[in-house]
């Protein structure tokens, strides 16, 4: 599920693909933008007016694939790096994916890289066929060639000599969806949950087991959330731990009471300025 994992479903992806005839004809933009957010650089930057004007800036961009030439302007301006240029018309059993790549070092043309899917797993090899630098947008566009069966899966790549990255992605991944339960459940009870007051996760868990099941109750008995940051860091973590241990949805957990000022202020500010 997109909302939990950031990975779109097969159905969501297929809905954004152009017709098979259009896909065979040449490169096209694949807009993997699935949530309504106030953002429109793709539609205002398209030199062919192929990304339809948005009546409301929150609209999800829609493409007229007959006008789209796969030029890549939208891919380099999308702040979410959500647009890819796919070319399935190569015809030799390979296809190319153009990826906005805001990392250093850049790969070189001809370099072999590891093709990575939307979940972040390495699924094959790819050859870099183009590295396009734009002075205007600064987002480099890297085109890689993969076997055509992978073109709808590959959305990123790792450099081969980047050992830290390849170790991380080769780790076995959990199949089950990420939930409050799995995302927040730490095995280490000694981690500090409230950094300002130095309160450990163990203390919070013990209190929840004793029956303190609101953020405010935990705050009053332990001081968690009463330190310098005023619960801005630990508040959501405590709420998540309560939700996890009591089995309630996190939306049901009330945050602790907040009072002005929202940000820490020197007392002289309230006294009218002059502290002398």
């Amino acid at each position: 599920m997109l909302i939990n994992t950031g990975v779109p479903t097969r159905e969501q992806i297929e809905r954004r693909l152009p017709s098979p005839e259009r896909r065979a004809r040449g490169p096209y933009a694949m807009v993997e933008c699935f949530q309504e957010i106030p953002c429109n650089p793709c539609s205002t930057s398209c030199p062919f007016d192929a990304i339809l004007p948005m009546g409301d800036i929150n609209e999800i961009p829609m493409i007229d694939h007959d006008r789209c030439t796969g030029c890549g302007v939208c891919a380099s301006v999308c702040p979410g790096l959500a647009i890819f240029i796919i070319d399935e018309s190569v015809g030799d059993g390979t296809a190319s994916v153009t990826i906005p790549y805001e990392f250093r070092p850049l790969p070189e043309k001809g370099e072999t890289v590891r093709a990575v899917n939307r979940e972040g797993c390495v699924i094959g090899d790819a050859i870099v066929t183009r590295v396009l630098l734009s002075k205007k947008t600064k987002t480099p566009l890297v085109t890689i060639r993969v076997s055509d069966g992978l073109v709808h899966e590959v959305r990123f790549f790792n450099l081969i000599d980047d050992k830290a990255v390849s170790d991380a992605t080769s780790l076995k991944r959990k199949e089950e969806p990420i939930t409050v339960d799995s995302a927040c459940a730490s095995d280490d009870d000694e981690i500090i949950l409230c950094r300002c007051e130095g309160i450990t996760l163990r203390t919070i868990r013990d209190l929840i087991r004793e029956g303190y099941t609101t953020v405010d109750e935990i705050k009053r008995i332990s001081r968690a959330g009463m330190g310098a940051c005023q619960a801005r860091t630990c508040g959501p973590l405590i709420a998540a731990e309560i939700a996890r241990m009591t089995g309630q949805p996190i939306s049901e957990i009330q945050p602790s009471a907040h009072r002005a000022p929202v940000k820490p202020m020197p007392i002289e500010f309230f006294l009218g300025g002059d502290s002398e």
Partner: protein, 106 residues
């Protein structure tokens, strides 16, 4: 100096500003125009900005946007300055903070 600064960033350009001199726990250090106190300290290799008043654990950059108060230090004698967002000025005297801080007048 310079080793810890990003010089080649895919999107952003960082202009090298004027050198600003300041001291950290008595040691003279150099920052750059545009630095916050904590960013200048990081550029100088200082990662421990203070110690927690109760647990005595080292404190460093955490949120870096003035939200979490992990980077509180004593600046020009004033405690509880959020150094991650406080601009670095010439001649600042910056010290680690080990306690909850003291009011200016005490």
């Amino acid at each position: 100096m310079g080793d810890r600064r990003i010089t080649d960033h895919p999107i952003l350009d960082f202009d090298e500003g004027e050198v600003i001199h300041f001291t950290f726990d008595g040691k003279p250090m150099e920052g750059r125009e545009g630095d916050t106190i904590a960013s200048a300290l990081h550029a100088n290799g200082v990662k421990v900005l203070g110690y927690h008043f109760k647990t005595k654990r080292p404190r460093g950059f955490y949120c870096a946007i003035g939200n979490c108060s992990a980077c509180l230090m004593i600046v020009n004698g004033k405690s509880n300055v959020r150094t991650c967002t406080e601009p670095l000025l010439p001649g600042m005297v910056v010290e680690k903070q080990l306690d909850r801080g003291v009011p200016d007048d005490v």
